[in-house]
Symmetry: C2
Subunit: 382 residues, 2 copies
Amino acid sequence: MVERRRTRSTVSIVDVARRAGVSVSTVSRSLRGETNVAAATHERVRRAVDELAYVPSPAAAGLATGRTSSIGVLASFDYRWFLTSVLEGVDSALRAAGYDLLMYNVGDAEARDHFFSSSPMRRRVDGVLAVAAVLTGEEQAVLRKLDVPVVAVNGIRTLLPRVGIDDEAGAAAAVKHLALLGHTDIAMISGNTDALVGTVTPRRAGFEAAVAALGHDTDVIVVDRWGAEGGIQGMDRLLTRSTLPSAIFTESDEMAFGALRSLRRTGVRVPEDVSLIGFDDHELAPALDLTTIAQPAREQGAVAADLLMNMIAGTADTSADIKLPTRLIVRGSTRRHLAAGDTESDEVRHGDFSEQPASSAPSATRSPPSAQSTLARSARGH
Amino acid sequence: MVERRRTRSTVSIVDVARRAGVSVSTVSRSLRGETNVAAATHERVRRAVDELAYVPSPAAAGLATGRTSSIGVLASFDYRWFLTSVLEGVDSALRAAGYDLLMYNVGDAEARDHFFSSSPMRRRVDGVLAVAAVLTGEEQAVLRKLDVPVVAVNGIRTLLPRVGIDDEAGAAAAVKHLALLGHTDIAMISGNTDALVGTVTPRRAGFEAAVAALGHDTDVIVVDRWGAEGGIQGMDRLLTRSTLPSAIFTESDEMAFGALRSLRRTGVRVPEDVSLIGFDDHELAPALDLTTIAQPAREQGAVAADLLMNMIAGTADTSADIKLPTRLIVRGSTRRHLAAGDTESDEVRHGDFSEQPASSAPSATRSPPSAQSTLARSARGH
DNA sequence: TTGTAAGCGTTATCAA
DNA sequence: TTGATAACGCTTACAA
């Protein structure tokens, strides 16, 4: 070695080629699993790669092919439960195919503006997943200019191919559940359409259609806040009335959590005084014993990622609208509606609509232990 | 145009240079904001970029510089609240600096194995953020082999630089709050150290030290499940005792949610019969009226991202251990401990430790409206 | 202050 | 089945 101009620290395909005694093109072919490589050659390459601990440069490959082998996820980071659930599905589908996962937040106005004005995804992704996004026409145009396939996951219906659920049917199932329990006076707490979520209209539409089909009047409280806060707001408004409906459907489980809070604070019992059903099957719904309509979030992510990858490969129709099924999960927040005078039979009915805890938990009729335990504690060995 | 070998569809730096009437190196300098460019030249370049809608190729830049201008986030996607909160901070810090955000899930065993065996981050990131990760020595070694800076966000203490909170102090603050309320018999529901979370030991250690400092015996229930499930499990075990402690501290808010569920199911009232305090200030803690120790999740993400970027730039010490402050948030799940015989004054004390709802919500003493509302409803105009 | 040209590490075309 | 070699689009000495 007479003189080296620059010390190349990383091992490249050239080093592998030299070590294996073949040309770089052969190494490249072998590594990408092309068929026209002799088995023996393939094996020598494999060994050289191992020995040199060679890792291909994605940047170089990207430059040469024009592909990035990564996909971008556009989402509001504040949809915590839904987003992370979807991401689990997306991640597992993507990893299996060797794609990387780039995240972009459009949760608050600042992040959103930054995203749509600077368009940081350009030249960086082969495809885009828009999770629970509500996009203006302008924003959709920006995405289109990326010039890569885009799939919406459970956002509003646009021209984009979409993977989601049948929100109308889910809402109808909630109404049906309540109706079967004898409820006729059912209200819904729904989010304001102006807010940034795509499921407002369909769930409310499904609710209204189902209630109307039963021949009842529709009763929808529209709130302008989302999550538990919105539920509190909506429930507080309901509570200003002189009488409550016997059952309430909320746009989401988180709203139901908030509604539950208001009801407890006011001394209204669930399900004795009012039945409550949510939508989503949020991870905390079991802990709050909430009856709900479950949606398969993780699965939506996996299906959407697969669809997107097929679109990138050119082997998928670009106008899909896949709807995954929802399902009713009956827990303890809904129960049979009692006509006036029936109230004495409350306890008897209670078990009918509650999930039984899997563990041998103390029964609901057990009397609370004393709060005074200092003396008792000293009797425990430790 | 006599003949073109390949149709270059994308506009490159060469096109910009031609249009601006300068060399590519001048364009490159101008674009990267180097100072040795004449103002007039800079302006001509800017205009050419605009007119051609030029977007630099990250792949080409990465190939030339060896930098990727993206950072990788390693996390369990099932820490939904904490992860997304941290990500908000990370994202905002990163975007401002032009970095991209690559996500990698190590939540379940399969994803974890895949990550640590195939090491998909190699050559793809300039730095790594490990969020709430518990890493074996082997796994840390894999990260080290990436040969880029790594910062831990609120995981276990390792040799890695870390941004987190003072869990011990937070736990001590919880104990202090309960002690000031007169509680002497305080139990903790804590997670099993084997599970994949880094905050087990410090929070429990802080609890035990604080309780011991008060001269009381420590009383810790260790459960092997996390989240609400763990809280249910722990509370159910506590409920098998003949007496309950007067106050309970849980390792996390989600555990507190589960504990609350068990208590309600059993008919034990919070805070009348037992006080409950959590840790985190989970987004749903307000809806469950849970007193808790808040940790600044989003801020941890922002600080960690900044630290990481400084490390990448070489302008940061590589042994940081930054602890952000926690703070007590008093809501309605804790109250003054009543000596035997004091029980009649319950209502009087109640307001002392509850957050007042910001809205003009119905007061807690309002009597529940009738569940029969069909008639009333028909009186409303609609 | 600007231009020339040599990399960076792949892929892919074309011959052999 | 394999090998030379020209892109890919940028950065960065070095020269002017």
